[in-house]
Structure formats: structure tokens, C-alpha cells
């Protein structure tokens, strides 16, 4: 798994929710219509399943999930990318 694979997987998942709108990797996805608890939960579960991590209570903060960049950074901090 490389960082850019992860980035495109996260983007593909978000695109299902943020239909029809363009968004940048730094954009706040919650301001783009990812609006309810169900989506937040689905996002967390998707990341855990897809990347085989289990987020701790400390990980579960809005700032770690607010953009594609933030999520990729969180995944990096949890050590899921192979050392280059």
C-alpha cells in the first residue's frame, strides 16, 4: 500500500457521498455535504476495514477526518504505508 493508493481509495469512497461536486484533497469534506452521523460512521468503518486499522478514541477526532489530506496523514501515523 502506498500513500497514493490510499489517497485514491479515500477519494473514491468520498465521491459516492459528495456526488457531482469537485473537491480538493485539502477541502473540508464535512462542509461538502458529508453531513450526518451515519456518514461519519460509514467513513470510519470504511477506513478501518479497507486499511486494516482500528482507530483509538484519540484518533477519532474531527481534525483527523476533515479532509482527504488529514485522513491520509492519520493512516500514515498508524503505520499502514510500507517504508519506501
Amino acid at each position: 500500500m502506498t500513500q497514493s493508493d490510499a489517497r485514491s481509495k479515500v477519494r473514491a469512497f468520498l465521491e459516492k457521498f459528495i456526488r457531482d461536486q469537485d473537491f480538493e484533497d485539502g477541502d473540508n469534506v464535512f462542509a461538502l455535504g458529508l453531513v450526518n452521523s451515519l456518514m461519519a460512521m460509514q467513513l470510519v468503518l470504511f477506513l478501518e476495514k479497507e486499511f486494516g486499522v482500528k482507530f483509538t478514541n484519540q484518533d477519532l477526532n474531527l481534525k483527523n477526518f476533515r479532509s482527504v489530506d488529514a485522513m491520509v496523514e492519520l493512516l500514515g501515523a498508524r503505520g499502514i504505508f510500507a517504508a519506501a
Binding site: I18, D20, G33, V35, A40, L60, N61, F65
Partner: protein
């Protein structure tokens, strides 16, 4: 024997709802007591459906002739095994099979259902006359919301169709619903429904604590507590009372002892709005806003809801976490929602 109360009854048609066989061209008459029983279940808030091996169009036509069609949600009129039909109904209604009853005159069909889905309770057509008085079919309380339950599920079906066919971001879809969210202190008349919501809500429940009617009545009167209820309507009609908040007020802080939302509004974005309202009122009142969270095997979504709404963990004692809300950056209430709050917790007197 303490069994769960029945929430959904699934009816066979030929020789069960009516006598005679539709596809053989028999003259069909309703079996005695059937109409009365269907109407009684409906008034009690028990949902009903059909599992019949028949041609769909003529069977629906016949139900319409009897004036019964509107009582049945997601009727399954097809040639599949009836266990499949029952499972499909449970999935669509999102309620557990252990709250299902299946009524069919044929022992073979009852056995097939019991074999594949043992949680379902099965009854012969000849049981119809005694089921009126069977306690499993008697909700402990019948609330106003229960009486409207079928209509609410029917409105949900329309909403679901619109939602799945809508192209565009989710908040744009929500804006098309014209939702009004009302929030205020519970009245004495609300308590039965609050008790029902507390007992029925597992997923969107921050502590899973159960409160009896008497406890809720006492908390409503307690000077140290505020018991709040939320309801929601949209262009398709009311959702009824869908949220409960119990606040404990101490010097300088409010603690959310319980926050729950009905699963029916899970994708409506109203839980976040409710938390925003609480944060605003706490800020206006100059108090800290704390919240209890007790993890169960099903409520992680509520933990994430708190965390994504600006709460952070303070401490944990005996499995109950205490969280505190950041009151500096409180978002606006969402534009897709009209909010009517009759509660002036902090901004009032």
C-alpha cells in the same frame, strides 16, 4: 415466559385472510374476525405485511376490494419460500425477526418459516380469534406515535425512493425535504413516548441506560435536571418524537446524561443540529457542557457523533467516559433545517 412483544404480523392470504383460493376463481370472503384483528393491530402500532404465493396484481386488487391494501407494508406476493419473504420484510422495515408473527393456515408453510427463521412465531389461521387478546400482541403502552406508526413507515418508503433517485450532494437532498425540527422540555403527556424511545433505541443511544416511566417523571420535575424531547416533520408528514436529551445541571456545568435519536432519522443530520443547539445554550448560559458516554456493542456511532461535534475525552470511570464540548467553535445550524426551540436553557432567564 417473557418474550418480546410482536412488532410486525405477516399474513398469508388464501384460506387465512379470506376463505377460498384466488387463482382458482373461488368466491372469496374475508374469514371471520380477520378485518377486526387487522384494524386492532394497526391501532396498537403493530406493523403488518403479507407473504402469499400468488400472482401479485390480482392479489393486490383483491385486497383493495376488501379495503385492506393500505394496512400492509412491503407485501410479498410471489412464488418464493415464505421464509425469504419474511426475511425481506424484516430487512425493509429494519426490525428484528424475533418480533415477527406469521399467520398461515398451512402447517407446511409454518414449518418452513420456523425451520429457516426460528425466531419468528407462527400461528394457524384458526388462531385469529384468540390473537386479539394474546399478550404478545398487546404493547405495554400505546402512544400517539404508535397509532401513526404505519403512516410514518409509508412516508419513509416515499422518502427512501426520493433519496435513492436524487442526484447531488446529501445536504441538497435534505434541503428538498422542508424539515422542521422542534425541541423543548418534555410535557407530562410526552413521558410515555419518551419511555418507549428509551426502551426501543439501541444504536443512537449514548449510554444505553434504561429509565422507567416513574424515573422519567421524577427527572422531569427535578430542579437539577432538564428532560428535553425533539420532534421532526417534513413535507411527507411527521416523524413523531424522535429524540430525547436528559441534562443534569450543576454549578457551572451541564452534563448530558442521555442523548438518543430514533434510527428512523439516522440520515437526516438532526443529531448534529441537536448537539449544536446544546453547545449554543451552554455557551449562552456561561457553563461547561459535559456528556456521559457508555459504550455498548451497538452505539459507537454516537461516540463518533460526539467526537466529530467538538467533544473530547476527559476521563473514564467504570466504563463510562466523560466528555467535554469545545464551546469556542460552534458551527451554524444547518441550512436545510428549520429549528423551533422552545427551550431557553442558557439564553433565557
Amino acid at each position: 415466559m417473557s418474550q418480546k412483544k410482536i412488532k410486525c404480523v405477516v399474513w398469508d392470504l388464501d384460506h387465512t385472510v379470506w376463505s377460498g383460493i384466488l387463482l382458482e376463481g373461488d368466491t372469496l370472503v374475508l374469514r371471520p374476525g380477520v378485518r377486526e384483528l387487522i384494524e386492532a393491530f394497526d391501532e396498537r402500532g403493530i406493523l403488518q405485511s403479507v407473504a402469499s404465493r400468488n400472482e401479485s396484481a390480482p392479489a393486490r386488487e383483491q385486497l383493495k376490494k376488501f379495503g385492506l391494501e393500505q394496512y400492509f407494508l412491503h407485501p410479498q406476493i410471489n412464488w418464493d419460500p415464505k421464509s425469504e419473504s419474511v426475511k425481506r420484510i424484516a430487512e425493509r422495515l429494519n426490525i428484528g425477526l424475533d418480533t415477527f408473527a406469521f399467520i398461515d393456515d398451512q402447517a407446511f408453510e409454518r414449518d418452513e418459516v420456523r425451520f429457516s427463521v426460528p425466531a419468528v412465531r407462527t400461528y394457524d389461521a384458526t388462531d385469529v380469534e384468540r390473537l386479539q387478546a394474546d399478550l404478545d400482541f398487546m404493547p405495554r403502552v400505546i402512544t400517539e406515535d404508535a397509532r401513526c406508526r404505519r403512516a410514518m413507515y409509508q412516508a419513509d418508503m416515499v422518502r427512501h425512493e426520493e433519496e435513492t433517485s436524487f442526484k447531488g450532494p446529501n445536504d441538497a437532498f435534505l434541503a428538498t425535504l422542508d424539515m422542521t425540527f422542534s425541541f423543548g422540555p418534555a410535557t407530562a403527556a410526552d413521558l410515555l413516548r419518551v419511555e418507549e424511545l428509551v426502551a426501543r433505541t439501541n444504536q443512537l443511544n449514548t449510554t444505553g441506560r434504561i429509565y422507567s416511566y416513574e424515573e422519567l417523571a421524577a427527572l422531569r420535575e427535578s430542579p437539577d435536571h432538564v428532560l428535553l424531547v425533539a420532534d421532526l416533520t417534513d413535507k411527507h408528514g411527521p416523524y413523531g418524537k424522535i429524540g430525547v436529551v436528559l441534562l443534569q445541571r450543576t454549578e457551572g456545568a451541564w452534563t448530558i446524561k442521555l442523548l438518543l435519536m430514533s434510527c428512523r432519522v439516522m440520515s437526516r443530520g438532526v443529531g448534529g443540529a441537536l448537539i449544536t443547539l446544546l453547545r449554543r445554550e451552554a455557551k449562552a448560559g456561561g457553563v461547561r457542557l459535559l456528556a456521559d458516554f457508555r459504550a455498548t456493542d451497538r452505539n459507537r456511532m454516537m461516540y463518533i457523533t460526539y467526537k466529530f461535534a467538538g467533544f473530547s475525552d476527559l476521563s473514564e470511570i467504570d466504563g463510562t467516559s466523560l466528555l467535554e464540548a469545545d464551546l469556542n467553535e460552534i458551527p451554524e445550524l444547518p441550512a436545510y433545517l428549520v429549528v423551533n426551540s422552545t427551550w431557553q436553557g442558557g439564553s433565557g432567564g
